[in-house]
Amino acid sequence: MSGAGTTPDMGPGLSGRLRGAAGALLHHPGALTGLALIAVVLLPALLAPWLGLPDPAQTEPARRMLPVLSPGHPLGTDHLGRDLLSRLVWGARSSIAVGVLATLVAALAGGVLGLAAAWLGRLADTLLMRAVDVLMAFPYLLLALAIVAALGPGLANAMLAIAVANIPFFARAVRGAALDIRHQDYIAAARLSGHGEARILLAEVLPNLVPTVLVLMTTTLGWMILETAGLSFLGLGAQPPAADLGSMLGEGRAFLTVYPRVAVLPGLVILVLVVGINLLGDALRDLIDPRWSGARRRSRGGQPAAGSPAAPGADLPAGSDEGLLAVRGLHVAVPSAAGPMDAVRGLDFAIAAGERVALVGESGSGKTLTALALMRLLPAGLVLRGRLRLGGIELTALTEPALRDLRGRRLAYVPQEPLTALDPLFRVGFQLDEALRAHAPAQNPKSRGDALIAQVGLDGVPQLRRRYPHELSGGQRQRVAIAMALAHGPDLLIADEATTALDVTVQQEILDLLLRLCAEGRRALLFVSHVLALVARVCERVLVMYAGRIVEDGPVDAILTRPAHPYTAALLACSPELGRPDKPLPAIAGQAPAPGSSPPGCPFAPRCPRVQADCRAALPGLDRMEPAHRARCLHPVSRTPGERAR
């Protein structure tokens, strides 16, 4: 994702964003839990001098190792008779102070270095970043250890060592963020309006770096506390009689088997504190720096929709002459903030064996969802209703293994984007063999693969099987995808915008290939496209979709020469035609209705040039115009009595 997320050019100012984040924090369950855990440790530590606790360094050998709940010592005493509770509170105070201080030092020094690298030009950047690379080539605990070894043990030295070891991390992150900011428009604008570099740095860059640095500090504070505690645990940090949580753990280790609580309790306090800090850090990162929440945003709730088959005995008599594919009452609901909304609303159509059908519509009309629904491959969270019968088998009633058996064997799919159709990490030959083996166990896949390669016209490409997808052109990749789709001679091939991402000349080649392969094998084709002009070449019949419904269904020449629905006519008017480069291409005015909004009447009415009062009253039915030509329109373009065809 781009770095623009860190520094929205037009968003509210810094203080506004921070205030917004602070407000959002109070509604974020993770942040609240984190704050609560931190408070449990931090509040007593802050208030330690006023809590009336016994002196944590006061030894009293006569009262050593008192058990929990002894009078005056709620958590008992340690091996020198010191009050454990008091030592925990004071130790936490020292650990937190050292961790915070180390974070501040690292952030300040790293910030200055990172900013210098980003702002002082090439040479400074190269030198500083090489140095950072070298320091990061060190396991940083080891670097801290070496520094403590040189400076000598002690809490201040340990703090310094941890801070220094973390400077490279901050420097690199701040440099990245500063470079992002540097390339933003408002910096160029500030330059153009004549502001000096120093002013730009202070007024524009620094404030925008604050959120990034704040997130970095919160996410590293936990580590810093763990690491200083670690050095103290090894006896390199706090020196007796002073103590932090780490050194308490280290001292308690000697009595681990007999008095485990002396060592276990300080560790528990560290754990609570660090869990709290990490929870808060994650929440802050989500709220301030959207770059990190990618995975979260992409997430979709719930299960892949298992589809509820319609009630048995609905309007589809089994075994009737329904052709190869019969779709009845297909709905696809997509989740939205206001609950599930139907993006596909009651589709009915059939495809005969060997028939080539186009499904055409604007983006957002629901055609790709329909294609995925037919494969039963809708993304998780989308819900399918209705009936899908393929050769008499009810697809919505099948289990995943039964579906797997159909996919690739009787039903195949060629996707829109050849770039992502193949796994980038495997050679073409491997993926081809895998597709072949999916349904026919190891029957000489090599020669069958070669035959497929020849079939899609790739036999001239040297070493094709040994290549990776990124070593092929878009057209070649699409041919490979088609070869894999044809591996088992499917009855129905669904090509979902299979030529959209390709160059025009390659488009034609792929179209011819699809046509040839389907015609040769008597394969049915469902060709999904948003370009009506493309389909004339390949298909016999056209289904036009608008706002989740079929609005016109007819033979290809009827649709192309005398469309009935005004929407089809408009689509035709804006399709480019070969040989007519000067043809004006008017856009269809207005916008398709948002999914879920369903005012009464024809959904195209607001954009329709032929709209009349009755269009807004009720949704027209899909009426027969000619024996094989249906349209969902009260005032069709060419067929209404008293109106001439255009």
Binding site: L141, L142, L268, G408, P424
Partner: protein
Amino acid sequence: MTGYIARRLLMLLPVLLGVTLVVFGVMSLVPGDPALAILGPYATPERLAELRAELGLDQPWPLRYGHWLADLLAGDLGRSLSLEQPVADAVLGRLGPTLLLAGAALLLAVLLGLAAGLLAALRHNRATDRLVTLAVLLGISLPAFWLGLLLILLFAVWLGWLPASGMTTVWLDDQGWAVLPDLLRHLLLPALSLALVAAGVIGRIGRAAAIDVLAADHIRLCRARGIAGHRILLVHALKGVLARIMPVIGLQAGFLIGGAVYIETIFQWPGLGRMLVDAIAARDLLLVQGGVLVLAVAYVLVNLGADLLQHWLDRRTRAA
């Protein structure tokens, strides 16, 4: 692939040179007279003068660094005062156990982290995912040394199942492969304490990577071709996730090498980490220097390995 390896090896040289410079530089942070710091307050003036000459303290630092580097390349890291033997011998003798411990921990961490990450991604936003996310949070927030103590308490002290310290049982005089079961029994607890934190980090990154990969088009296309679900997961998704998290695995190796210092101390593991702690306590600076250098070089090499593996998994990566 060959070109990539050559470029990557070439890039190694400046990094290694930089590492030696840092190790050398850190030791010049020693306040006051390094000879006095090394020999302690009771050294004779003659011995001090001798050591000063040996360390070349009267020369400017680039010259000193040159001599030190030349000695280093000849395998001479100086002489340890606390162990009374050459630093190189002491360090190399302790390297094996540390590599064994860190290697075992890395393996455990990758297995646990990957399994947790994939499981959470498969059950995204469901109870299993939340449970794994919570476990991962605990993992990255745990002090490794505290976890080690808890494991000793549970498995060694209370249950008595596993030994709490050392690498071998002293009184067993098995030879060859016969030592293996005993070694593994000793290895299990320290490797686990070291691995869990790294497993948390790998699990966290692995989960995000797996969510991404599982949502990718080519995974859906595999399903459209009728390829079995377990094969998609274990071949396509796993390779995709591994290729993405390989750099993180390399970084975790650094954490494990550092963490080995605590764990070796707690479990009395005879490795470099424990030697370093002892050397720091004894102010044996040359030994510290040698130990740090060897561990840092090991880390650089592990990261080289991670980069090469990543390129092997995903040929689109380039040497930066």
